[in-house]
Symmetry: C4
Subunit: 297 residues, 4 copies
């Protein structure tokens, strides 16, 4: 790794994009929620160290996803009549094809989430490989060329977002810096993909999972519902959006599914929240953007 | 340790077993709870570093188990008329024989939990020794050849589960990947022992213990009861099972025992939950499995 | 770093100042609250490692401040009719000038918070540079020579507080050792700047933010409001003061803003709490101090 | 450090003492609470690294104790009419003599808590020095030869407890392995000092303090009161005792004092709890022990 000094820290916003446009939501909705899940499967462990592959109980937290978590999450979405985006690692597609296939059959969106869920740290040798292998697995297994991407470990870098644009990705859902979608601006000033920022407080891993490799505290329904409702209610007042970062290996656990059912029921009953997939949000953004450019030109 | 690369990560589920069979529970019960405790005693500390043996206050958290925690837990189980499985380290059997003997006399199941509670990391030199010394201690002290096993630190590897089968263990309760028992499949495709998966949220160490070597947050009754009831209630709706991973050195502390009494009373009052030992769950599984094979053949 | 032994630990209070004077608050108020925010922007990450500048999602937590957090906090303060102190890093002033300018226009106080938010560890080569560059950025961008200072990472040392005095800083708000302002005493016994101690429990980062580099637990409204009200209520009984250490990148998040709105509304409705900027508190202290010296002489 | 293997782990309880005797409490009380505080002052930081002495804000958390925490705790105890034991580091006695003197004047017990609060790790060179310097400071400053001792960082070893006996200490309050006092048994089988075990859940540091060097979560009144009442209520049912491990630099903070006032008021209102100093508990134990020996002989 190159040693960097403070002379190397550029004095400009980390994000060069202008303010997010305040486009209206469809059908007169007041706010939006992009409903999405990350399908990491066992890569939650192997992505930290490939040797974890032989630590069978640590791996089993990830295996829960295919055996129980995904079927239960899909069942819940059917009950509630909701469609979601599943950011799926290539490894999960290859190792658990039937599980992911079930999401495809239910009409959910499958999007790109790397292959081995490797952290896209700036300068990492694996960035292009992870991208190519992820595309390949989704194509090979399900004939799908995804238009959405979420960075493993919620991290990104210039090399990666330039590659996303080049590969025809339409939207990314990784950044944490806004409450509305916006178009990324690449280092050379060219427009990048649409960014649909993720909402950290809807990352179920923060509140509901503890393992030998990540001994977080686990919080009950009352605790998490209070935060999830507050976040949504304030966003409704702002006319903005939230983006969930749920994981079937967390929210597919019994008490977590109960909590998620409760929260999604609340969101539906608000009636003013557009609950949509990443693709729907991105296509709506494109439409508004084109209309806006039409007006502007 | 061998350096491993991502080429070494196999592209298949970490668990080769098929879906867990949905056998009915006995007596028309709707769901099941395997009630079990891990008797680590002072190995909770020495298993991390043998030098802890001379750090007397750190050791004293473990000693609490024999002096107060076990007697209080046994008293509670007598009051509630419940039988449980005690996964007991060989060291605890040798250092605190009277404490474990009291559990035997009360009719509880004694099962294998290693000798020094050493982590069965893949390739560890101590895996076979831990197994042999644990069997020896239980036989020598109580004349018991256990049929159940729980992995120290909730970790396992192929070498260990092959050894469990060879040694005549009937069931393991270590994996975290299901809500029903299933039969393990060994790397060569042969059937392994029955797995009765553990439920991480019922690990009292996660919510109720903080020491100099593990500074977790401690949560009150309201917090833990909400989670424990939610987990059980959802499992009742699924017709599945939970498996507790309690520790007399945690749940035998005054405020934790109060909480456990409250939770177990709730579980009993549900009336549709079969509260059983690991042995009872495993024998029931065997019976259903044989019946199933009879039908299938 | 020099190796230090216990012979080097001086046997005297770390703070040589006498007891904080119990000056009355203005307008017959019973207690006071210094309302202040730290504007770190992306330096929250780069101050730990300049290489974070290329980790774009990690950076984006800081960028949220300029894009959403600051505008929302300023809007809230306008709604409630409150003025606050914004301790602003020079980097934030240079990279997000319009954001900080908006605070200036609303009549809030801008104070010094370093340039790159570098930890002022004793003996650090950057202590004087951070100070000079911070002054320069605020002067160059907004024509402001700040009179208040808060130490990055809430740390300080003798070299720094001597420099603050030399540079004409009137007050610091960094120490955690009192519930009333007092005048610092420098190592040579000379009077230093006024210290308005910060209240750790009003640091929103402790309760409401979790990132890849700081995986804290996040707590809901009920949890934080209970603590914030208790702290204020007890301080009202003491006739003392609290000092908030809020961050627009935390309290500007939707659910955190809702919480802050709730808390500030409560503080206003108490009617006996003087909610003031650091400058107001410091000037009031100077007036009381002079009056006191007049009486004493 | 000597490398130790599992052959070195002795196969016997870490604590050789027999079961704690179930002596009755005085005046027909049902249970007991030893009310005690640890007066660490700035050694909370320097004991980890002497270089912290120059990190002035980190030090200031400790200085809060002398400036505000101790006066406020003493005021509360006067209001409630309670006497407590203050385990005081020699450094605090030397650096803040007036603060400790105030506790002496109010009739509280002053006991030994090391000099620099250095961890008594087995084999540490400083064990005897810490003991001698602590005795010296309390004698020199207040003319006190303490009879009670609590180990810094709640750790101990054989060398230390042999030294305590030799130095005429009557009781220690460090172990975590019982709910009643008992007499320590030294490695050679000789009787040691009386142990009044500490109750970890009454360590306010676990729930109420977060600093740059110890980023724990902080919990509100409802959370901690629930635990503290549950622990006491269960102990009342057991007829046993609890021992607080409070710190004026934590419980002397405004919201923590409010919580402590609430809890102590509850304990007083129970009317069946004997709230006593360590000395009172130890002398009562000695009396019962002698009576018991009289009966036995």
């Amino acid at each position: 790794m190159t040693i960097r000094s403070y002379d190397d820290v550029p004095v400009r916003p980390a994000n060069l994009a202008g303010p997010a446009p305040e486009f209206p939501w469809p059908d007169g909705k007041r706010a939006a929620m992009m409903l999405s899940f990350d399908v990491d499967a066992e890569t939650y462990a192997t992505s930290k160290d490939p040797a974890h592959a032989e630590r069978l109980v640590s791996m089993s937290y990830g295996t829960y996803e295919a055996r129980v978590g995904m079927p239960k999450v899909l069942e819940l979405l059917r009950e509630l009549g909701l469609k979601a985006t599943f950011f799926t690692t290539g490894w999960a597609a290859d190792a658990h094809p039937a599980t992911v296939e079930a999401a495809v059959k239910d009409g959910h969106e499958i999007a790109h989430h790397g292959y081995h869920h490797l952290l896209p740290d700036p300068g990492s040798a694996h960035i292009e490989d992870e991208l190519a292998m992820g595309f390949d697995a989704l194509k090979r297994r399900f004939g799908i060329r995804p238009i959405g991407y979420r960075a493993p470990y919620g991290e990104s870098c210039d090399e990666l977002r330039i590659a996303l644009k080049r590969e025809g990705i339409v939207y990314s859902s990784s950044w944490r810096d806004d409450v509305r979608p916006y178009r990324q601006v690449l280092p050379d000033g060219a427009p990048g993909v649409i960014e649909i920022p993720a909402t950290a407080s809807y990352d179920d891993w923060m509140h509901g999972m503890s393992t030998r490799f990540g001994p977080r505290s686990i919080f009950p329904k009352e605790h998490v519902l209070s935060m999830w409702k507050d976040e949504l209610d304030e966003i409704r007042d702002w006319g903005a959006m939230v983006t969930t970062v749920l994981h079937p290996q967390v929210s597919g656990r019994p008490m977590r599914l109960r909590l998620l059912r409760n929260f999604l029921t609340y969101a539906i009953e608000c009636r003013d929240v557009w609950i949509a997939t990443g693709e729907q949000v991105a296509r709506h953004f494109e439409t508004c953007e084109r209309a806006d450019e039409g007006v502007a030109s």
